[in-house]
């Protein structure tokens, strides 16, 4: 590839962080489906790439009480994990909308989150699932868990320092909530112009717990707490659902770009919230 760069392949977490710290101008890479494209477009010019693909601690899905998804786990491999798909269907739904087969065989869970595009498809489902991100800080190598809702700071900006390394997505055992994910695109393989994930714990038509998150309609993927407050503790009658739709429209801050105008993105966010609630009210018990 034009520009030339060095390509390092560490075989352990320690090696990865050590080599990263001592290699000036280096970037971590896993699937490369975002970073390589930006490099080709001249938007990023790292002197070296530190590949995470051969660090065993970073790949794989483990279920024991909590579920841990290694950040370098490919999306395609996640979809082949039957337990993951069964326990967290909203996450699997989002994964099947990502790119195409080829992209899903390269791209990783960690890459989607750490790239931190406002459109990140995995963010809305992980936000409603209350996911945490396990991060190994560069200094002293201590590991800490960050709630995902605190992780995104701005478009393509996260809480990670330059040599920090996100190691796993951590999910608690699934609750009794019902979930659904909607994503609006122009064509099959496209960035979302609006996406919404909803989790409801229902007792008949009474909502005990509501989690609502949206992507592509604000500088970061985020929970829509205002919508959650409309729904939680309430009987979900039609007027209330329409109120939630209205609040959803008002509480997002979409941009206008080549994919869609801001008014349309607001409109779709509201529609998705309403449709999600209607769908979950009518859905089979999990």
């Amino acid at each position: 590839m034009r520009g030339g760069f060095d390509y390092l392949r560490p075989r352990s977490l320690e090696e990865a962080q050590e080599w990263k710290a001592r290699t000036e101008g280096s970037r971590y890479v896993a699937g490369g489906t975002d970073l390589l494209v930006r490099m080709k477009e001249g938007k990023e010019h790292p002197a070296a790439l530190v590949s995470l693909r051969r660090v065993p601690e970073l790949s794989g899905v483990r279920h024991d009480g909590v579920t841990r998804i290694g950040t370098a786990t490919r999306i395609g491999d996640c979809l082949d994990d039957a337990a993951l798909v069964a326990r967290y269907p909203v996450l699997a739904q989002a994964m099947t909308t990502m790119g195409c087969v080829q992209i899903r065989n390269l791209a990783t869970v960690g890459g989607n989150l750490c790239t931190a595009s406002p459109c990140a498809d995995l963010a809305p489902p992980l936000l409603v699932l209350g996911a945490r991100l396990s991060v190994r800080r560069a200094a002293g190598g201590r590991e800490e868990e960050i709630p995902l809702e605190q992780f995104f700071v701005g478009p393509r900006q996260t809480q990670l320092g330059p040599h920090d390394l996100a190691t796993a997505v951590v999910l608690d055992a699934p609750s009794a909530g019902r979930t659904v994910f909607f994503k609006k695109t122009r064509v099959q393989m496209d960035l979302a112009l609006a996406s919404v994930a909803v989790l409801l714990e229902l007792d008949g038509r009474t909502c005990r717990k509501a989690r609502v998150a949206a992507g592509s309609v604000a500088p970061t993927p985020r929970r829509l707490e205002a919508v959650e407050r409309v729904l939680e503790g309430q009987v979900l009658a039609r007027e209330l659902v329409l109120q939630a739709e209205q609040v959803a429209r008002e509480c997002v801050a979409p941009i206008c770009d080549v994919r869609a105008g801001d008014a349309y993105r607001r409109h779709v966010t509201g529609v998705f919230v309403r449709r999600a609630v209607e769908h979950l009210l009518g859905a089979e018990r999990p």
Binding site: M1, G3, G4, F5, D6, Y7, R9, G32, T33, L36, V37, K40, L49, S51, R53, G76, G99, C100, V101, Q102, I103, N105, L106, Q188, M189
Partner: protein, 158 residues
């Protein structure tokens, strides 16, 4: 500085020299002379550069060559046996799934991978599997028919 890269290409072990910044697409075409794999967009959107990595379709335009060390790569050149086309290739020829041919190597490899996982794919499943392979000529209709024909032929064989 070049690195030595050892991997399995179309069933045979191979060693070649690559720069750290070489992408697999470049290595296949420029170093190894295997020009069946095409560059369409260079961004992972069109699928013309699709190859199979350990049997799974990937965009070779986004994959650093060094990443295939010790792994198995299948390109379109690996499907035929001498002059005998594979069953998928034959189905595409017979059913008009190939017009200009530019998307065909990537398309056929994606189909190869699909049929390895799914013996009787319905239209929805076929189209979902081929989202990442764009074709400007066929409108995809004959491609879907080619896939169904290849699948049927395979099911008919013991």
């Amino acid at each position: 500085m070049k690195h030595s890269l050892a991997f399995v290409l179309n069933g045979s072990p191979i060693v070649c020299a690559v720069a750290p910044s070489d992408l697999l697409l470049e290595t296949l075409r420029d170093e190894l002379g295997l020009t069946g794999t095409k560059e369409g967009c260079g961004r992972g959107e069109c699928g013309a550069c699709t190859v199979l990595l350990d049997g799974r379709p990937v965009n070779s335009c986004l994959l650093p060559a060094l990443e295939v060390e010790g792994r198995e790569v299948t390109t379109i050149e690996g499907l035929a046996r001498g002059h005998e086309l594979s069953d998928v290739q034959q189905a595409f020829v017979e059913r008009g799934g190939i017009q200009c041919g530019f998307c065909s190597p990537g398309m056929i490899l994606s189909v190869q991978a699909l049929l390895a996982r799914s013996a009787d794919p319905k239209e929805d499943e076929i189209r979902a599997a081929l989202v990442g392979n764009l074709c400007r000529c066929t409108g995809y209709v004959q491609i879907v028919e080619s896939v169904k024909a290849a699948a049927e032929r395979r099911r008919g064989r013991p």
